[in-house]
Symmetry: C2
Subunit: 107 residues, 2 copies
């Protein structure tokens, strides 16, 4: 397995990178959210997912109010460094609707 560092990451013009969150056990894709550098550092240092809320313009510790935290198992970077894949053990549903995954609607 190759490794990547912070220096390999390509943040967008807002300083953000999209993070795909996947259940490390089931493989289910749970959600996609955005991280800035602070959110990624907090995710790595605390071992729980943190994101940047674009709508509220603030750091967001997933599960801080709901209790539905996500314990980080592994973080991957894609080939061009502009997307993260975060594998987690979720403590509860990922979606604010109560669904296990935010992807509960078929197109």
């Amino acid at each position: 397995m190759e490794t990547a560092t912070f220096a390999d990451l390509r943040w967008d013009e807002r300083g953000l990178i999209p993070a795909v969150v996947q259940d490390a056990t089931t493989g289910q894709v749970l959600m996609v959210a955005w991280m800035n550098a602070d959110a990624l550092r907090l995710t790595l240092t605390t071992g729980e997912t943190h994101f940047w809320s674009r709508s509220r313009a603030e750091l967001w510790h997933k599960g801080a109010t709901s209790g539905n935290t996500q314990a980080v198992t592994r973080v991957y970077v894609d080939c061009d460094g502009d997307t993260l894949l975060v594998q987690v053990q979720p403590a509860g549903p990922a979606c604010h609707t109560g669904a296990t995954s935010c992807f509960f609607r078929r197109l």
Copy 2:
């Protein structure tokens, strides 16, 4: 299973939406790319993934040159309509490096 339509989608200010591509059989997350409305329509009508290349500013039929097409099994929309999850049967590696998945580096 609930359903969503084109009208439920929230395109960004560039008219794009991120699409997470997942192997429908193994659950492996293969890549994340962007679609505009034309790319999504082509994906749904042809049954093979199409994306919008931001760097080349053109429609991109995945596998058109490499042969590594992705046959679409299911498309999901997330709760707030701003991300797609596309489950596929890949004909070959997703990554231009030859890796099965673009997420082959650990952070």
